[in-house]
Amino acid sequence: MIVRPIQLDDLDALQQMARETGVGFTSLPDNREFLREKIEHSMASFLDPRGEGAQLYFFVLEDDQASSAERIAGCCAIEARVGLSSPFYHYRLGRLAHSSPELGLHRLLETLFLSSDHTGDAEVCSLYLRPAWRGGSGLRSRLGTMISRVRWLFIAAQRERFPQRVLAEMRGRVDDQGASPFWKSLGSRFLPMDFGDADRLIGLGEKGFIGELMPKYPIYTAFLTQEARLSIGQVHDQTRPAIAMLAHEGLRWEGYIDIFDGGPTMEAYIDDVRGVRDSRRLVARVDPDASDREARASGFRPRWLVARDGAAKDFRAAWVSRAPREERLVLSLAEAQRLNVSNGDYLRVLEC
């Protein structure tokens, strides 16, 4: 399995994944033209030697051993700087003291403020592992980790392409009918459309209507329904593993939520993220005598995620079977080939 930048050839697979994800997976709408542009945007970003604008780095997880046509197992992406060309909004949960010395009352009220505070931050997004590749044991049990953490490996390798902070938006809570209580209590009062339509517009990058239609004054959460209040910063059941993984990386919820479903925005300073902080830069030592037997064993549970530490466009990440020793990592010929690495090249390595 390798993770590599997406190419135009992957359009069919990407659209297939967009269909599988459905509503609520905002960033991957089922719109071929839009997806093609996304791929082209990503390809241009990887090629850009400096990469200081609103770059998009989109990756696919490919089964390089697969014999069938279905080689693409999942995808993930990083937006280098959100909100530079179109507005980017959150609600921010704040607190305001209301206090009356005369009545001996002192209350703290929660408020939601429309905010674009995260403009210019990086975002990790579009993480998807196709159902056929989920579960299992050995290497297969590690694909979720791979497709998620590979982004930190890339960011660490291309640190100068990214700003100070990174965020990830989590799908918000839904009720038994699959509806968002937060949307019902707030968004639906101001946007004359259903949740799916609003979400689709956002996915297509049409965010201007938020500033036009959503409330401009701060909202006291006391005016929302209890279900909506209880949904603030809470995630969709299916998102629990993802949020746990991000929390483990050191991302936290600092009070920013999605304006539609109230889902939490997880965030951190990039240099504090475990996957970035703990990754190491090592020298590849390609050993023709090194065996691949262990890695080919069915129960092999890889621990070392590796990519070449060089030009962004050459990024390819894969598991290797050996632990690094001091500043070196021994690769078998097969591993070196898979990573497109030669003896003496620099590697970026993360223990997962």
Binding site: L103, F209, E212
Partner: protein, 346 residues
């Protein structure tokens, strides 16, 4: 005969009884001896002061049944609703949220914390004893007497007036608006807050109530339904004030969402239609129509509703009982508001 006069210290016990019987309880007339005594003292002090422009004066009036020899109603004028302590309302405003790109246009109603009414002269705290509540003339006399007083002493009052009416309560006496708004900020019942608001400086309102604009869309349906609506017991009173010339407006009470009506003082019928004249020695005929008649004066201001005829020379003829009630003799100045039927509709 019913006569309206300025409050006297001896009225205190009767006022407490009136406050206790008010339905619904009035924020501005709490059943609270110290508060009512203070208002009487304020009235007496206000009458003694030379006034060039309105300030924090209060004028409390009493309605007396001279036959029964008892006090049967009360009403108050505050020269400025919000001096010393701010008078807050919510002001209803419609915002447009439009997205040309999506071809959408939404009207969004907002309640903004407002201090605008503070500069108006406030008509408040009107209450009559239960057995006089159906006596529409008694209530009208009390209501309009205050306006006659404003006509007499314009320098003591603002150029505009405001009057608030209690909002709608549910079957259990709770205010749906309070339950949807105020409740979040004070964990107390409406009745209790109303009591506090009546007794204490209202400034605590500023400290605890939401000052940021509120979206009506986010209130409960029950609360939205009662915005600007009047308690059933006050609907007649509201209609009477509309007839008097008050206009419905955008302001509502911050506690119970009852309406606040406003008007330019000089446009109110009782003010606009009243004219000064002199008490004539003769009596009116038996079929003279009933007019509002006020004795000119400050402390000795008195008002009755009585048959009256205006002579071509500007003299006003009044019957003996009205003269007695007003404690007036021929040749003294009075203010007369002719009966409605004799005045063209404006």
């Amino acid at each position: 005969m019913l006569v309206v006069r300025l409050v006297e210290r001896r009225d205190i016990d009767a006022l407490i009884a009136l406050a206790a019987q008010a339905v619904p309880r009035l924020t501005n007339l709490p059943e609270w001896r110290e508060g009512l005594e203070a208002r009487i003292e304020s009235t007496r002090a206000s009458l003694e002061r030379e006034i060039a422009t309105p300030g924090d004066e209060v004028y409390m009036f009493s309605l007396e049944d001279t036959v029964a020899g008892r006090l049967v109603g009360t009403a108050t004028l505050r020269a400025q609703a919000g001096i010393g302590q701010a008078y807050y309302t919510y002001r209803r405003e419609t915002m447009i949220h439009a997205s040309p790109g999506l071809g959408l246009r939404q009207e969004v109603d907002v309640l903004s914390f407002s201090h605008e009414i503070s500069t108006a002269t406030q008509l408040c705290a009107l209450a009559v004893a239960p057995e006089y509540r159906d006596d529409l003339e008694a209530v009208a006399l009390l209501r309009r007497a205050r306006l006659a007083f404003i006509k007499q002493h314009p320098q003591r009052f603002a150029h505009w007036c405001a009057v608030a009416f209690a909002g709608v309560l549910d079957a259990r006496g709770r205010s749906p608006f309070w339950e949807s708004v105020g409740r979040h900020f004070f964990d107390r019942d409406f009745a209790e807050i109303n009591f506090h608001a009546g007794r204490r400086a209202k400034s605590f309102v500023a400290e605890m109530m939401p000052q940021l604009p509120l979206y009506e869309e986010l209130l409960t349906p029950e609360a939205r339904e009662v915005i600007g609506e009047t308690h059933i017991a006050h609907r007649h009173a509201r209609q009477a004030m509309l007839d008097e010339g008050f206009k419905p407006g955008r302001h509502i009470d911050i506690f119970d969402a009852g309406p606040v009506l406003t008007a330019r003082a000089q446009r109110l019928r009782t003010v606009a239609e009243s004219r000064g004249c002199t008490l004539a020695p003769r009596e009116p005929g038996p079929d003279a129509p009933c007019a509002l008649v006020a004795r000119s004066g400050l402390d000795d201001f008195r008002v009755v509703a009585a048959p009256a005829v205006l002579d071509p020379d500007g003299g006003a003829r009044l019957g003996a009982s009205a003269r007695r009630a007003l404690e007036m003799e021929s040749g003294e100045r009075l203010l007369l508001v002719p009966p409605r039927s004799t005045v063209e509709a404006t």
